[in-house]
């Protein structure tokens, strides 16, 4: 499965690079993946085996019409036609990581409850780069389930400074009593 995800990711990367729109495809796929992960209805609609594929592609067109490049939309269509919509987030993440690695960088995914301003993102990138010892490309994601604060993930390393994380450890403490 990892092989398949990496295969798709590398294929998409090469296509985007050949079209000269790697950066936009990367960020568009990443935000589509975020939307898909934060919306269970959309996810179940796109992965519903009962729903015909042309309905699913119609949903994708509705969602992305005019907001994303035609290449990105085509790639998403391809995934829906292959019944791989459920793997889109993993593929997008792998694509971003492989692209960053090809630039000799790692991806830092920063989740916050509210949008962050550019200055804060730069400071976070610098601090995370110092803490992990890697050159980083930052992908900022707004995720209300964080509640407050920030969760940063670099590769397998997670630095959780979120209110949700505090509450989770509180919940664990209460349950283990």
């Amino acid at each position: 499965m990892d092989d398949r995800i990496n295969g798709y990711a590398k294929g998409f990367l090469e296509l985007a690079r050949a079209e000269g729109s790697l950066e936009s495809v990367e960020s568009e796929l990443f935000s589509i993946a975020e939307t898909l992960e934060s919306s269970p209805e959309l996810r179940s609609a796109l992965t519903d085996p009962q729903l015909p594929n042309d309905k699913k592609t119609a949903i994708v067109d509705d969602l992305l019409g005019g907001k994303a490049s035609s290449l990105t939309v085509g790639l998403v269509h391809l995934l829906v036609d292959q019944d791989r919509a459920s793997e889109l987030p993993s593929i997008a993440r792998a694509l971003v990581e492989i692209a960053a690695a090809s630039r000799d960088r790692a991806v830092a995914e920063i989740r916050s409850a509210v949008p962050l301003d550019d200055q804060t993102i730069e400071r976070l990138a610098a601090a995370l780069g110092k803490a992990t010892g890697k050159k980083l490309e930052v992908k900022a994601v707004v995720d209300e389930s964080v509640v407050g604060g920030i969760v940063a993930r670099v590769g397998d390393t997670v630095i959780d400074g979120s209110v949700a994380g505090r509450f989770q450890s509180l919940r664990n403490a209460v349950q283990s009593r």
Binding site: L124, A127, I150, I159, F167, R171, V174, Q175
Partner: protein, 185 residues
């Protein structure tokens, strides 16, 4: 005595009157006397020779028969007594046996009763202990379940309240604190 004296007197008077033979009146003539004696002797001989022994024999037989009957009766009595004694002894044995059996049965019944009671008590105790333990376990489980549930609800509520009460400056403060901690690493 008076009659005999009168007879003697009369005879004496007769003798005196008859002259010669006063006593002759009383005594039979000699030939009669001899015939009488012979006849008597014959009769006596017959009697002595056959009648008496026959009589004696009969008497003896009777005596023997009576003695035999007596001894039989004695024997029967003894047998009866010994039988009676046997019966009495058997009766006493039977009574004792009966008592012993009753006593045994009573003892067995008592023992069984005690065993049944003891077993029932032990069973009841065991059931009670098990029920108690189950109740305790169930209570603990319910308590820990309730504690978890209350904890979850509390944390969910707290999370919701905190999330709603966070304004832009609070968010910024949280981000700044995260940054400050990150920059110290």
């Amino acid at each position: 005595m008076d009659l005999f004296a009168q007879i003697l007197t009369f005879a004496a008077e007769e003798a005196e009157e008859g002259g010669g033979g006063g006593l002759d009146l009383l005594l039979p003539p000699l030939n009669e006397l001899i015939a009488g004696i012979i006849a008597f002797a014959i009769v006596f001989f017959f009697v002595w020779r056959w009648a008496v022994p026959a009589f004696n024999r009969m008497l003896e037989q009777r005596q023997k028969a009576i003695a035999g009957q007596l001894s039989e009766a004695e024997k029967a009595k003894q047998e009866a007594e010994s039988l009676l004694a046997d019966y009495r002894a058997q009766l006493a044995d039977a009574k004792a046996e009966g008592n012993r059996i009753i006593e045994d049965a009573r003892a067995t019944a008592e023992q069984m009763r005690a065993e049944v009671i003891a077993k029932a008590e032990a069973d009841a105790e065991q059931i009670l202990a098990k029920a108690r333990q189950e109740a305790e376990t169930e209570k603990d489980r319910a308590l820990s379940e309730a504690r978890k549930e209350v904890g979850n609800i509390s944390v969910d509520l707290a999370s919701q309240i905190v999330g709603e009460s966070l304004d832009a400056s609070a968010h910024q403060a949280l981000v700044n604190r995260y940054l400050a901690e990150l920059e110290k690493m």
